[in-house]
Symmetry: C2
Subunit: 183 residues, 2 copies
């Protein structure tokens, strides 16, 4: 059987055709995740609000890197975005070579690390954004979103791309696992 | 070839022996993760500190559920712990039936969701614990750990089990992927 078949190690083996489709979906999802993480990193990394009023001693200004968690968020998203760009090569390789099993296994491993990183970064930032919106009476932390509305909107919005990327990573891992299962 | 072989669909196929070892490691790792998430949930869920001094109007008391993120942390860890207990059944099934591919694929999918959940919960709580320790001058959030030392130690310590579980999930996903790759 040569049509829809590939020669590997001198042996003619059947190529699961669906795996090529999975590899194409994988590639598309990675591109979507790249834009998500990039948008998150840029949106958070450019957040800077200076209030139009000030006293003699204080200028009211909120920047993303005033809060260490937001700095971590930007670093994590930039790193994951970089990883995703590099992983496009392996993803493309899987479209050409549908039977590749080892690279898929490695990809599942790396994807799961990135899934942990991106969901950690996003939810840590979400915890701080929640605090900025609602404050915490018990700990005497006041909400700062009344003053820094624009800052809060930007930081809240930037979470979307990151959480979206986490969802996509779950799908990517599942797709790779299905492809492995079908081999 | 009957020794080390299994009959599946009327066909005699070779069983990858390493896969049984992987399944046993998988089971052990799940039991470790169960104790980690359980310890995290219990340690955080029982955190309650009342300071030995009080005024006429205020009693200084810090409980884990004063901070919504900590409440989410407990719920997430309890849920993941419950999932891990249930997943022991599939893990044991894999020891008996080393060739099972579909259940491994499902397990990778569920494990990746739980990985996202547990790392999200742990890092959100870590962001708040960091804030409790260091405060944030820009947002005018003061550190509360000088007053509530015991509270801070307990909440910080409870993160360990949860982060450990996240690492174990990455290993579990990798192990399942290797087992699938070898089939």
């Amino acid at each position: 059987m040569k049509a829809g078949g590939a020669v590997e190690g001198g042996e003619v083996t059947k190529v699961p055709r669906g795996n090529r489709v999975f590899a194409i979906i994988d590639l598309i999802l990675r591109i979507v995740a790249i834009s998500g993480t990039l948008a998150s990193a840029v949106a958070m990394g450019t957040t800077d609000e200076t209030l139009p009023f000030f006293t003699q001693f204080i200028r009211f200004r909120a920047q993303y890197d005033d809060i260490p968690t937001f700095r971590v968020f930007v670093i994590v998203n930039a790193t994951v975005c970089g990883y995703l760009v590099l992983s496009l090569a392996i993803s493309t390789f899987h479209i050409v070579k549908s039977r590749a099993a080892k690279t898929r296994t490695v990809l599942i491993f790396l994807d799961s690390i990135m899934l942990a990183a991106v969901s950690a970064g996003a939810s840590a930032a979400a915890a701080i954004v929640y605090l900025a919106h609602n404050g915490n009476a018990s700990a005497n932390w006041s909400a700062i979103c009344q003053q820094f509305q624009n800052f809060c909107e930007r930081t809240s919005g930037s979470l979307i791309g990151s959480f979206g990327a986490a969802l996509i990573f779950i799908l990517l891992i599942f797709l790779s696992a299905i492809a492995l299962c079908r081999l």
